[in-house]
């Protein structure tokens, strides 16, 4: 390969390359201008040779670009521009006139020092690469990445919600089965309690009769021979007969009281879970409250004093099991509102065709920003793991299904008041004579 051939080859490459190539001298006069530059600028190498770069292309950022080129002359090093920071040097039309959506050809430029044999920079050669296609692909890629990031974020949120819902379902199923178990136990216990109760009654009567007999025996004791009397008195002393006599009655009374307690608990459990009678019924809401308070008494005993202000409203057509659940949630929530101990006030009343129940506490109150979200599913302010954030939303939905309203007013530091408003009639029970009878007002 001789030098002449090399020169021809180099000229050909510079001329036909799909790359802008031009060069300037230290006065910024154009000394080289390839075909690519000609095509895109509309100015030929012939017409430009020797003319000043900045007077020919006034759109160029002169002060900045001069310093850039000067630095290549002075330092003899490469310099670069990238479309990402500076979209273009020359305002050329790009190769995507229809589908592009960009205003001009995006360009990457490289500034190369062309040195003489002494190492002094004689010319600066600038190559200009059309990056529009790459840039568009990159932009689309960036957009796609943004979208997919957003989707991934949403998915992540959904996964968290699903996890919560799963836990909640698990929790509510657990509660439901505990309720069923309790109801089953209550049912099973009911029979033995029945006969223990009746046996206890018989036992009491029998003991009374026995005591009567003993009294007669004791009155005739003096008539017995001396030896027999001594024997009897010894036994009486040994078994502490006087105490046994008194204690028997007390034992039976205490057993009757204890058994009564067990019967009440069993009755409340059955009432609360309503396994034997679900669905729409005519119910006394005040009785619902009492039942609920009995069930949760352990939960709230050490946290709150309960005050009842009953207004004796009429009976209401409702699903008592569900209303009990709402009441239980509200009462337990209220008991958690106190830093130490507080008071829960339960009020009832009548308002037109509605009956209302209020559950008020004098606890910490709810900040207004939380108040708007309090009935949203999964909203909770309790530490992770202690609350599912579903309690109040379940309450809300139950009340809505009753075509009623669940509202809250609260003041931070003073406490909160939840108000349940329930319509008296639903017509769910068809011809409900019981209900009408219950509400018939004597004239």
């Amino acid at each position: 390969m001789n030098d002449e051939y090399n020169t021809i080859l180099a000229d050909f490459i510079v001329e036909r390359l799909e790359l802008g190539v031009f060069a300037v001298d230290a006065q910024f006069n154009i000394v080289l201008w390839n075909r690519f530059m000609h095509t895109h600028s509309g100015k030929s190498a012939q017409s430009l040779k020797g003319s000043n770069l900045f007077t020919t292309f006034p759109e160029l950022p002169e002060s900045w670009l001069k310093r850039k080129i000067e630095s290549v002359f002075a330092l003899g090093n490469y310099a670069f521009t990238s479309w990402e920071q500076r979209a273009y040097l020359f305002r050329f039309k790009h190769n995507r006139p229809i589908t592009g959506g960009v205003e001009a050809m995006l360009q990457n430029c490289t500034f190369l020092p062309l040195k003489d044999e002494k190492g002094k920079v004689e010319f600066v050669v600038i190559t200009l690469q059309d990056c529009t296609d790459n840039a568009l692909i990159q932009q689309r890629l960036a957009e796609a990445i943004t979208i997919s990031d957003e989707e991934r974020r949403k998915q992540q949120e959904l996964i968290v919600k699903l996890e919560d819902a799963k836990n909640q379902l698990f929790q509510s199923e657990k509660l439901a089965s505990i309720g069923q178990l309790a109801a089953g136990v209550a049912h099973e216990i009911n029979n033995p309690i029945g006969f223990v109760n009746s046996n206890l009654g018989t036992l009491e009567r029998n003991v009374t009769d026995l005591m009567k007999l003993m009294a007669v025996f004791e009155s005739k004791e003096a008539e017995l021979p001396e030896a027999a009397q001594q024997e009897l008195s010894k036994i009486k002393k040994d078994i502490d007969f006087e105490y046994v006599k008194e204690d028997l009655a007390a034992l039976i009374n205490e057993s009757k009281e204890g058994l009564g307690h067990v019967r009440r608990i069993v009755a409340d459990l059955k009432d609360f879970s309503r396994v034997d009678q679900s669905g729409w019924q005519i119910a006394d809401l005040e009785k619902c409250i009492d039942t609920t308070l009995n069930v949760v008494s352990n939960e709230i005993r050490y946290k709150a004093t309960v005050v009842k202000e009953y207004g004796h409203p009429p009976l209401v057509e409702c699903v008592p099991g569900q209303i009990n659940q709402v009441l239980m949630n509200l009462v337990v929530n209220a008991s958690q509102a106190f830093p130490e101990r507080g008071q829960i006030t339960l009020r009832t009343g009548e308002e037109g065709m509605y009956v209302w129940i209020e559950v008020q506490d004098d606890g910490v109150g709810i900040p207004s920003e939380n108040l708007q979200r309090i009935f949203e599913p999964f909203f909770t302010t309790k530490p992770v793991g202690t609350g599912t954030g579903l309690g109040l939303s379940v309450c809300y939905n139950i009340v809505r299904k009753h075509e009623g309203e669940l509202t809250v007013r609260s003041e931070v530091g003073k406490g909160s008041c939840f108000r349940i408003l329930l319509p008296i009639f639903h017509g769910k029970m068809g011809e409900s004579e019981e209900l009408e009878a219950a509400h018939s007002v004597p004239q």
């Binding site: 002060s63 900045w64 001069k66 310093r67 850039k68 000067e70 630095s71 002075a74 330092l75 003899g76 090093n77 490469y78 310099a79 670069f80 521009t81 990238s82 990402e84 920071q85 500076r86 990457n108 490289t110 190492g119």
Partner: protein, 204 residues
């Protein structure tokens, strides 16, 4: 002594970097038409694992911007520049940027800084040991970074790095930029050979 280089090679590298930066300072003063005093760089070889601490000790506890550029040829590696926001804005003025910088201009300034300083320093050294060096287009590491986050040593495939601290005195202002030259372990040998050749020309 610099790890992988003997005493003579280290001394030569320090002197060549001094000369390179001195020449660059002179050239920059000409371009920027201001009295620019480019300090003689303080060179040190540091353990790669200590680079985050080193950068912190350069700038103190303040947000920094950083850019990088690869060089290849007689010896290969990357040069990294770390500047504070104040220094970046000062350097932008010198480079002919006018007014308030927008986001793209701030990035471009960082790319220019690493290009000029890396070229001056690495290019200066290469020229004096008669090595041909080319540079790739620079790229951004990031803006408003915690100094400790500029480099993650665990992602570096090297054991040691060469750090240079360069100060510019411009009129009454003092602008500072920090350069770190990262040489892959197996490239230290190539540089050592070049330095030996250079030292031979002194002995002949």
């Amino acid at each position: 002594m610099i790890n992988g280089l003997n005493e003579d090679q280290s001394a030569a590298l320090q002197e060549l970097a001094n000369i390179g930066m001195g020449q660059a300072g002179n050239s920059l003063a000409l371009i920027w038409k201001e009295f620019v005093h480019l300090s003689i760089p303080r060179i040190a070889m540091v353990d790669a694992s200590r680079l985050p601490d080193l950068i912190l000790s350069f700038v103190g506890d303040t947000a920094v911007s950083a850019s990088r550029q690869a060089f290849h040829g007689g010896f290969r590696g990357e040069v990294l520049v770390v500047v504070t926001a104040r220094d970046r804005n000062g350097l932008a003025q010198l480079m002919g940027y006018e007014g308030q910088l927008d986001a793209a201009e701030r990035e471009e300034v960082l790319l220019d800084i690493v290009n000029i300083l890396g070229g001056a320093c690495v290019g200066g050294i290469a020229q004096q040991v008669s090595a041909e060096i080319g540079f790739s287009a620079p790229s951004l590491i990031g803006e408003d970074l915690d100094p400790l986050d500029v480099i993650n040593p665990e992602q570096l495939a090297i054991d040691t790095a060469l750090s240079l601290e360069v100060c510019f005195q411009v009129e009454n202002r003092s602008l500072t930029a920090h350069l770190v030259i990262l040489l892959p372990n197996n490239e230290v040998g190539a540089l050592a050979d070049l330095l030996d050749q250079f030292l031979c020309t002194l002995e002949a």
